[in-house]
Subunit: 266 residues, 2 copies
């Protein structure tokens, strides 16, 4: 700001000076130019304040401090869009995958084939951004009918750094379990979409059975993880964009929370 | 940037113009002023990149995605200092307390006096910023001898929004349990410091006994929470700046993670 002000001052001074010397008869009165200090400062301060508040909201989301929320705060809609469509979301997602990869490589696996990695699907392996771009990045209340139509297209692209992690984890010898909140009736399109997106050779794809539909995601996913544990699996890693993918019981040794400021699933 | 460039251009143009008209005999050659476009743009781009990367690192910290770390990344030292000493840390801390307060008020307490709230002490109730300000905000490796000397002064100020939450939670009828990683030999100064800082009437202050010193904080704190549960307490809320205050077993119904990008306790 200091530089900007100085430059503006210099500019006004020298414009005035040059006009004064050339056109003094046309402009006999001193030329008074008012510097619009307040307007610009106030505008900038209010933009900075909004940035601070929305960043703080996003941290509260990622640290799981908020009560269940249905839509993003309306005043943060531009902020969330900029975050998602700019570089920050990509950088954050890559960092999570990289941390997870470093960890996966550092673990010594047993020889019984019982070491497992659990992946959530939506916003973890597959990106629904083409849908959310058309629906305000979380500003609209979730509409399951519209969303299911999108799911039926099987067009969700992969989250590239997750695909890389997925392949690495498979190669290292982990059992790969996909655990999604999608229902059994979407099994066909989900398989189709995963294959379209480049995912191969998972060991199990678990979807909600009819008796699971009324359960909170935290409960449903804990139950399914617990079944794995009872079958003798050691869940060493778990990747998900929702805390309900990661918390509860029979939790993974390490959990990796992908960013998602667009929606919340309890 | 557009405005800045335009102003700079205007400034240079009009300086040149006024000099030209007044001093043409002194400056017979055309005046060429080169606009340092690249330098400024590159400088700004690299500052923005660092901001993005350090924000991403801070998110990874707060979402518990990182392996145990001993110091903040050196390239983020200014970033962390600006975060802590600017408004952002304060805004984040107030948001956590506000969320916790809203939740505490929304809960219906039993009549048996068995509803409990657990608070960590350092960077949750008490702020050690006077110490960390002198030690690079997490850039220096933790030095327990130096830190213990600071603890002995009993001068840590309260985190004001946590004090407000503490008082509200007590007033609502929660049992208040303070669960800290400090050792029993620091009980005296810890009590003195808490009272100096305005905290009153906690129900229990739990410090590490000699047999707890070798334990990871997650294990030690889980064990202590489990003792509460076995005594019949329902842990409804838990406030802490470390994930090791909150995760493990016998977890609280709701946990509130205060920000702390300065250090990590496993």
């Amino acid at each position: 700001m200091g530089f900007l002000r100085f430059t503006l001052f210099l500019s006004l001074f020298s414009v005035a000076f040059s006009l004064e010397s050339l056109n003094s008869r046309l402009l006999p009165r001193p030329l008074i130019i008012q510097y619009p200090e307040n307007i610009e400062t106030l505008f900038q301060e209010s933009a900075e304040e909004l940035q601070l508040q929305c960043t703080s909201w996003r941290f509260a989301v990622e640290a799981n401090n908020l009560s269940p929320w249905k839509t993003i705060p309306p005043e943060c809609s531009d902020y969330v869009k900029d975050y998602i469509m700019g570089r920050a979301y990509g950088i954050d997602i890559e960092r999570v995958s990289k941390e997870a990869e470093d960890y996966a490589r550092s673990v010594e696996l047993g020889e019984d084939g019982k070491d497992a990695w659990v992946f959530d699907v939506d916003e973890t392996l597959l990106s629904n951004l083409p849908y959310y771009t058309d629906h305000g990045y979380g500003l609209e209340v979730f509409d399951s009918v519209k969303f299911d139509k999108w799911v039926e297209t099987a067009m969700a692209p992969p989250i590239e750094s997750s695909l890389k992690l997925y392949e690495e984890v498979s190669k290292l010898g982990f059992k790969v379990f996909l655990l999604t909140g999608r229902g059994e009736k979407q099994r066909g399109v989900t398989v189709e979409n995963l294959i379209n997106a480049g995912f191969r050779d998972w060991d199990k794809l678990i979807l909600r059975a009819s008796e699971d539909h009324a359960k909170l995601a935290t409960v449903y996913k804990s139950e399914k993880r617990n079944e794995m544990v009872e079958e003798g699996y050691r869940i060493l890693g778990n990747s998900g964009d929702q805390w309900s993918d990661l918390l509860g019981y029979s939790m993974s040794t390490r959990s990796f929370k992908l960013p998602n400021p667009m929606y919340y699933i309890p």
